[in-house]
């Protein structure tokens, strides 16, 4: 099963990470789900695919009342991000999901109706979780054409979706990046292939460089902390992406 651990705690304001399921079949990409808590309200980022719903639900329930999860945040439309939506809605039909306006008529194929979705405009928007204000940060074309990250200025944490993702080999699956140079080798191929636009990448690097970030939390792989956050942004800025264009039959 997956495990839950708090990665940030300041009174009623917390971030929890639901990660690492050793029993997961290899054919499913490993994912990280994050829970942002403010008092008795919770928001989950990229709650995952329907196949892993039971494991995510169990890990969450062990630490937090799932009935208090009032919102989901979907960074984009992929199945490993949000195909569990219908199952979350069966548990709580009032649940609402923040999502790029671009996917408003696509993601309902996984479940939900017109009342389920809160559209995020291209420029991003503030999101309220009780008296806490989060910020949806544009990350379009990285890798999806309607893509957002979520920044928590109070916690100084950026949920970065597929940016920062790494496909970790067995034995190198710590929750936090321990050795940047060693870790980044597991991220390179992913970013070269999955990120389609150098222009979009540089725009994102510039945008997030202006934010105070203590932790950069990707949806796959390990969390970057402290100086490794800046190192990662510099590394990505210098990395040529869009390798699929150069593929030849």
């Amino acid at each position: 099963m997956k495990t839950f651990q708090y990665i940030y705690e300041a009174g009623a304001h917390k971030w929890g990470a639901i990660t690492r399921d050793p029993t997961k079949p290899d054919c499913l990409i490993d994912t990280n789900e994050y829970l942002i808590v403010n008092g008795d309200r919770g928001l989950m980022t990229d709650p995952g695919g329907s196949e892993i719903f039971p494991d995510v639900f169990l890990a969450l329930s062990a630490e937090f009342d799932p009935a208090k999860v009032t919102h989901l945040f979907a960074s984009h439309q992929d199945p490993d991000i949000i195909s569990s939506l219908a199952l979350w809605l069966e548990f709580n039909p009032e649940l609402q999901c923040y999502l790029s306006w671009l996917w408003n008529t696509f993601v309902p194929h996984f479940g939900g109706n017109a009342d389920t979705f809160i559209s995020i405009p291209d420029e991003g928007m503030p999101l309220a979780l009780g008296d806490l204000t989060l910020q949806a940060v544009p990350a379009h074309y990285l890798h999806s054409s309607g893509n957002f990250h979520l920044y928590d200025p109070a916690a100084k944490i950026l949920f970065s979706g597929d940016i920062g993702a790494a496909l970790l080999p067995p034995g190198e699956d710590d929750l936090f990046v321990k050795n940047f140079d060693r870790h980044i080798r597991n991220a390179e191929g992913f970013h070269r292939r999955w990120m389609g636009s150098n222009e979009a990448k540089l725009d994102w690097c510039e945008r997030v460089s202006k934010l105070e970030i203590d932790m950069l939390c990707p949806q796959h792989g390990a969390i970057y902390q402290g100086k490794d956050v800046g190192r990662f942004i510099d590394w990505l800025a210098a990395l040529p992406v869009g390798s699929g264009i150069r593929a030849r039959g």
Binding site: P54, D65, A67, F91
Partner: protein
Amino acid sequence: MEVKLEASSAPSNGLTRMAIANEHVKEVLRVSAEVNLVALNAMLAAHSAGEGSRGFGVVSSELRALSRSLDREMLNLVETFSGVVRDTAGLQKQRRILWLLNRANQGDQAASLLGDLLSRKGNELHEAGRMIRDRQLAVGAQVDRTLRLCATGHALARSAKIEAVYGGSMVVTLRQVANQIEEAVSHILATLKQIQVQMAG
């Protein structure tokens, strides 16, 4: 051919009930840890109170033994209940799939194509439901055992109150400790009954 199915478009409240019960389980676990602490305080208080509170010391030793048993029961309960929550979430997923398949099962041709699949899925769903019911029975048995422990805890709390009277200068402290124990045990008892209510549906 019409296959009788346990699938519907309406949200199943099974997972909701299990999630509520799970919150109660966590609460019992929290208070159970508290009982252990209070029992330890009781022993220390009895020790400070000297000769007159020997009876209170004996009772508080019994309470510590009880809180260890309670901890064991709680850990078993949490483990079994985790299985119930996970299986119920899995069942919800299967129900959803079955509901979607059911919607596709229109007309003679679809029925001939999907009939076997729906029948198999229906059987799988019944089997999964049976397994969950078995787990729920195991949880019920564990709750019953814990309720019996709580009854013992109540009796010990009452004894502690009686023994507190002989605590000399420590009488107020000992009485406070005895009251804390009684409150904690009562809270566990009430929460366990809530779990029973949720499990019964």
